[in-house]
Symmetry: D4
Subunit: 208 residues, 8 copies
């Protein structure tokens, strides 16, 4: 068993959003833009929902990479925000690592643009320092599928666990009874098929 | 030239939204659900933006087909809404045709679920009666690509013009100077790549 | 308008099933086998449901092409069955044409294996003799998508209308009120997504 | 060798069917619906055929997730059926684990909807407790291929073996001579290409 | 009906093989090389089998385009072979047109590399001069699918009929009884699935 | 024949490059960026090579759409360059139409971003005014393949001919002997496979 | 490093061809039939070329699975041929294992139909007994890509090395100087692109 | 963790370019030719930019494999260039290994044609001798995706890290502040989307 199961725990997890910048997003071509935007916002929403400490960072946002997408800034007004002056691997930035350590969490959920650099580099560095690393694959984008597959292989070989935002939400929540409405709303807002199920169900129920 | 150019005119166009129902949407598999939801809402938004008369219709919404998706109902509270008691081709429903005629428009923008039935049947009937028909292809969904391709072939052969919601918006607007902000907002809300361009642009401008 | 709308009429339509033979089916690779089997049986079911005169024919069924698939034989025990002694185009077989004429119908629904031969040849011949031809595209299979696209182009250019079995069923039925349960059963048996809608709906209704 | 070969043994295997519910199935988009339905029923059939203890479980079936698909309920009227009141990971439900333990089997065949949650969570938990876990990949569905690939990577890294229902049937049966007709029927019912081979073969044989 | 049916007639058809040269073949990427090689040789075989007058031509074969593939040269030692000194459209070469006219045939089967140039140009020119043109689509290759689709659209709009080598063979042969073994051998040599059918069939027959 | 062959003539053709702007290019997802850049530059190169009058136009280049890509500006320093103040259809801009008319050409090669708007609208308008329109499909990009297919259908139905830059170059050149080296260089610069053929050929020749 | 490099050695390798039967081949859909046929024959040719001991086996060849494809039988008239009376895993057949042991080789190249059964089962069994196992992936076929991916994952996790027939040939040959013509002929016969390179090269050379 | 993170260090890395020859490139079909050419030149450019010792090697370049592509030769006029007289695995050539050792580097970046042979063989050999191996996946090409996937699996299982040229550049550079313009130019020359960002940014900045 090369990477045994470690289970996400909402009391021990933090979210790192790396370089979701307006310019860099034009590089992402392994996801349809509608789907990718939805995935990133879903991850942000779940971070809020579970009150996970969240850290934002950008690379060179005064240049062509562009600013952090405004939605993320608005959703996390008080989160540590580390505009890196030049380090490509966020883990090379002392403030970033300090912010991670300050959370006191040992499980890191990482997503970013582009996958093989902004996600893979801090993921590999964090693994080396003993963190449990969970890559949120569908909130991480890159140039094409070939590049993504290579990046996944490298991260998985080093012990990262590959997940989706939906899997993350479910593993953190554990039991619907903790809050049916909250989780249902999260899914309804980000999974059109799920929203349709709810619409049909509630309409029919109301009709009785 | 089998189908000569007829140009969309915002003073002569109406929108027909056919059977975008919560249950039926689970049948749509020629589009990713995130993209399809966005396309349908974009078409609805443009109908509002250009003040196009819009007609809503559903098939059997008390049964498994489910209710009209709530967003559409909310956006068009005063639009004619014709829940058909059984006719599969909306054009076989007198109220529907009456509502179309009442708009006084000769150009019909049609979208719906599923493409080869709920879109194709009224599109073909309307062509037969002399209307100019524009199929909004990306706000119309069906079981798979094979089925879609066959439906497109049949409609195009009968004289329908195949368009996208973006093409429709541009052809109706004609000149950005008619309203830069309005059209820009429409695009920003429904085209993530376009929103990113605007974000980068306005951020950089503001910084001066 | 190169091919104006002609609408299927259940009192004027016949079904031609050409060469759905156990051996020939191994040639079909433009559809997944599970889907293709379902499509062919759905077309057969709708032919029964609408009481459309149906004609079966095979090519060389004593040789490697193999026998007609048993389900079709069982479903149409009294239908004209013309095992052609050699003619590749079924329309070159006098008995076949006689059987078609004997139906007295002017609208022909054609499906078969392989698309560019067993479907296209009789479709083109029937068009030439003034029949209205509707190709049931998803109950017709061939070697690959390239071949299929070429065959579709040739048939559409000659005036055939490309449809799916679902579109055919809907156009023939016209109004759900003619028989809700019958059509619902047809769809439930051949569209898993639709069956799921019905299951959820009836379960919830029963629970009230 | 990260995961050495452990061979399925029909005397030591149990089947866990997790959340194949009418509503949730509308979320499955990494398989064509015709194929997916067939795969799930094939797995159910093989469980019956080999008399494997089978456990059914659902999540929230009174809500929008919908009821267990009726075919499964009918096929396993006496199987333990655990409608979970809220636990997302079936392994968090005591009754479920008790039912698993009660089988006395050490090899667990798991399939469900959606793959990265309803399959992966109990699979990872079972591995942790020392079970041999076999994921029936083609009877497990989810939102898209990206999500599936990530889930597979996580499960394989933890020691799960990825299989198909056909591979499972073959590994359990071991020798055709144990029952030619039974296995042949199973394959004929769920593999159209195989059925065609049998049809051609038996027809030709009968003709002698 | 934009292009009415004209049926291939083996007494009125000639084959034009345009620029199947060893160098140019490296440009073909809309077909897998194994399949494309097979398709070209199948077309050549059928030309021989039906004794169709065949004309070979190349463009600049002393330069990087390379020589005609040797198999074609060997199969048609006595066919008119027109190495064009520079004309890109073979129809601009007087000798080529003279050779076509010398056949006395009115139906031209054209295949070549690359589709939008070496096939489309002479196809369009021949149509203009009143020939019936049949493009053998799967023995014609080009850079990618986009380019191919555009070329097909242009040729079909001008009245060319799109076919496959298999469709051509069947339409020329008309009736298996004209020669079962000959046509069977042609198919067996170029359609692995068909060969397998024959192998199974003849083996089983012999066993009786 | 819906659109008879009209042949490109280098003395009667002009090139219209519509809205190849740095911002808008981020919307293009029906082509890989490396390929699309190459196709656009290849079209520009061939316009220069054949001395075709070329007209450049942009939409709102001071806003988020961004400036014309610098390569095009540098290649055509003296070409008419019409930054449109607002018209979406370039043909609605008087200066643009005047520039087209000033060329005295009747054959228009049009390419741009995005296909269904910036290409389709002027293409349809030009057809209406009697021009022969050739869409350079692979130097025109848009959001996705669905949108592209719909746009192609609309333009082809109105009489536009769909081509690739390579087909255009070949049809304009007609005979290699007009200039072997020039055309060879054009191809070598934009078709890696062709360059490789030339490299191998010239290396081997030089070695003698 | 989960599976360290072990290098193929032509003096220590044997080839196992499992169940390449005429009937079973109709199940293979993860490869185009032209390509698959070529890959299997290429593997057979290289086994002959390198004089590798080769073992043939079939499952139930008197039934619908059909006979071994005749080409393989003809190429290896003296090879051990073990028609298994019922064992699905060839390694469960004593004669087969005896034949493997009789070769005295420790490196096994395995290919067959279908991948997750006829290849995976003996591959896993052989690994367990200490053999070095090399799966010839492209001469092994199955129902679809999902099934193949799962089978590859299982075999690789157990220590099998995944290769292609071309990689096998190159690793066995090691140095072109051992025999340029022999290896060149093997490649020329099975790689159309390579044959074209040779054709162009030898033609140009001969012309000097 | 099967392959722990080892980080690229520009003072400890060398680049091996294996068999990027004009003839062999015609075999590469897992990448579009435009993209592949760009990727290879990007890797070459970054090798120059970071002053990494680079070694070139070819196989049989006097024969049909053809010469090294001229761009690579021109870019590295003084690099060790080892035309191998016959060894397929470059690591079997003493001069090549000597050249590698002479660099004194322990991290090897390997790219070549074709992936499963010219890349995989030396990669596996170098791993065996204790080197850290980084495969530049997108500058390495082969016959098709199936073959590539198998080769990646074999190399990753033996401990190679799979990367892209962009990931390599970023990991070597570490901090933009080391040289903004240099890295920006590298990206601008090889990533059209990135160049567009820079164009828009600098144009807007200049306008202030």
């Amino acid at each position: 068993m090369s990477t045994p199961y470690t289970r996400l725990d909402k009391n021990n997890a933090a979210v790192l959003l790396v370089d979701h910048q307006a310019g860099l997003l034009s590089l992402v071509r392994d996801f349809d833009p509608d789907r990718f935007k939805n995935n990133v916002l879903a991850l942000a929403d779940l971070a809020k929902y579970f009150n996970l400490p969240t850290i934002l960072t950008t690379s060179f946002e005064d240049g062509p990479n562009g600013p952090l997408v405004p939605e993320l800034k608005q959703m996390f007004p008080d989160a540590p925000f580390i505009p890196r002056p030049g380090q490509i691997n966020a883990w090379d930035n002392e403030d970033f690592v300090k912010a991670v350590k300050a959370t006191g969490k040992k499980q890191l959920l990482i997503a970013g643009v582009v996958t093989e650099v902004c996600v893979a580099f801090p993921a590999l560095s964090a693994l080396e320092e003993g963190y449990q690393v969970f890559v949120v694959t569908d909130a991480s984008g890159t140039f094409n599928e070939v590049t993504r597959d290579a990046a996944w292989s490298r991260m998985a070989a080093a012990g990262a666990q590959l997940m989706s935002w939906f899997g993350v939400a479910c593993e953190l929540h554990r039991d619907w009874r903790n809050d049916v409405e909250g989780l249902g709303t999260l899914f309804s807002n980000h999974i059109p098929d799920y929203r349709n199920l709810i619409t049909s169900y509630t309409t029919l129920k109301a009709r009785k």
